[in-house]
């Protein structure tokens, strides 16, 4: 019983902390700029769409130094963009066709639990179909990955997964059509490293990839 009461107390405290912090943050913003929230409530016109991992250690805006209103965000397990997933697809459609973002960033990270789980020979229930997409990335790049071992292999799979998801973003009608008309959005593949806290640009070649995939996936007409 005592333990149960303690758990309850802890839950209440961690819950209260969020509200306390939020109040402090809101007060500080208003003090700096009394119109801050009023302006925000009028609308958003972010330049970026960020597709990242749900991992708690990578809050997109914090690690890029962006403020509220600057980046539209989708986060899921292992930053995947699957073509039959309405959830991610509706984010891409809204960001590209309605908000007209200029850049789409797919950001993975080294030490990704989702990528590790995908490569674990184990039945993970409802996670199986989701993580299968990562196994498929492995199969696509089997030759290269099989020359590597241990951490190096995982790190490379994280990078290749990001690059494949960049390709998946480009396979959408929304991105292809908008790009044909406006020359944006441009797609980028990045990886966040905990060792140094830095973003690594994988130098995803937007123009070359577009040409390459449109041989089969052209949806512009």
């Amino acid at each position: 019983m005592a333990e149960k009461a303690q758990v309850k107390k802890y839950l209440q405290e961690s819950h209260d902390k969020i509200f306390e912090n939020n109040r402090k943050w809101a007060d500080a913003q208003s003090a700096k700029d009394p119109q801050f929230f009023e302006e925000l409530s009028k609308g958003q016109s972010p330049n970026y769409l960020w597709i990242g991992c749900a991992d708690s250690r990578i809050p997109a805006e914090a690690i890029t130094g962006l403020g509220p209103g600057e980046m539209f965000i989708h986060r899921n397990i292992a930053n995947l963009v699957c073509n039959v997933d309405l959830n991610a697809m509706s984010v891409v459609e809204y960001a590209v066709s309605h908000l007209k973002v200029k850049h789409i960033i797919v950001c993975g990270h080294y030490g990704c639990g989702g990528v590790k789980a995908a490569m674990t020979p184990q039945d993970l229930g409802i996670l199986n179909p989701w993580l299968r997409n990562i196994r498929d990335v492995y199969r696509l790049h089997e030759k290269e990955l099989d020359t590597l071992e241990g951490e190096a292999k995982y790190d490379r799979l994280v990078e290749l997964n990001v690059l494949e998801q960049c390709r998946n973003v480009m396979k959408t009608a929304a991105v292809q059509k908008c790009f044909a008309e406006n020359e944006f959005p441009v797609v980028h593949g990045w990886v966040f490293g905990f060792k140094d806290g830095l973003l690594k640009d994988l130098k995803f070649d937007h123009a070359a990839t577009l040409k390459d995939i449109q041989k089969i996936y052209n949806l512009t007409s």
């Binding site: 929230f37 690690i63 989708h74 459609e93 929304a174 806290g197």
Partner: protein
């Protein structure tokens, strides 16, 4: 166009330097793993960066964000996030956060075509609007209606979450709780959704 991109990469270097000045071992500690206590399900909207508005630290909130913070039954994307966060990371709370002036909620007040994918995604939210027509009609304007739809949608998402096998198990085994929040964009403030009649009187809205 590269300027816009440089903006974030410069921001990242700044963040990293600031963080390391504060705590030289910060990233080293982070690289060892995560044990967030909260799963945050929020809107993709750029104006609600969860970590900033809650003044949280990296490592505290596991995050899923999509159009209008929906948890639809049968959505494998959100279901995977819930399963991973609840069963594997053992978060203590799941929070669904809607907000005022939500583009998804506003779009759900009508049936204007937004594109096939978006229309499919928002279908359940538009259904909610139809179901609560008389209540919504009685409200003074579309702003108020959109806020109400956002609230109803948070509740709906919580109902779906409650039926998720992992959530059900964790709720009875270790006291996992599910909460609904609304973020008021005009004030920068979070408020708890109270369910009429079922409020527990402790400021927490918990459907369990």
């Amino acid at each position: 166009m590269t300027d816009v991109l440089d903006h974030i990469l410069t921001g990242n270097r700044h963040y990293r330097n600031q963080t390391l000045t504060h705590d030289p071992t910060f990233f080293d500690t982070l690289s060892k793993g995560q044990s967030p206590s909260v799963l945050w399900i929020g809107c993709a909207d750029s104006r609600i960066p969860e970590t900033t508005i809650c003044a949280s630290q990296p490592g505290e909130l596991f995050v899923h964000r999509n159009i209008a913070n929906c948890v639809h039954a049968g959505d494998i994307n959100a279901a995977s996030v819930v399963e991973y966060a609840v069963t594997h990371l053992k978060v203590k709370k799941v929070v669904v956060c809607g907000h005022t002036s939500c583009g998804g909620a506003v779009a759900s007040l009508g049936d204007a075509e937004l594109g096939e994918v978006l229309d499919s995604w928002l279908h359940p939210v538009r259904e909610l609007r139809r179901k609560h027509k008389s209540e919504l009609d009685a409200l003074p304007d579309d702003n108020a209606r959109a806020v109400r739809v956002a609230e109803l949608n948070v509740r709906q998402s919580i109902e779906v979450l409650r039926r998720h096998p992992a959530v059900r198990r964790a709720a009875s085994d270790r006291g996992l709780t599910v909460h609904g929040l609304i973020y008021d964009l005009g004030l920068g403030e979070l408020r708890v959704l109270e369910e009429s009649g079922k409020g527990k009187g402790n400021g927490l809205w918990s459907p369990n």
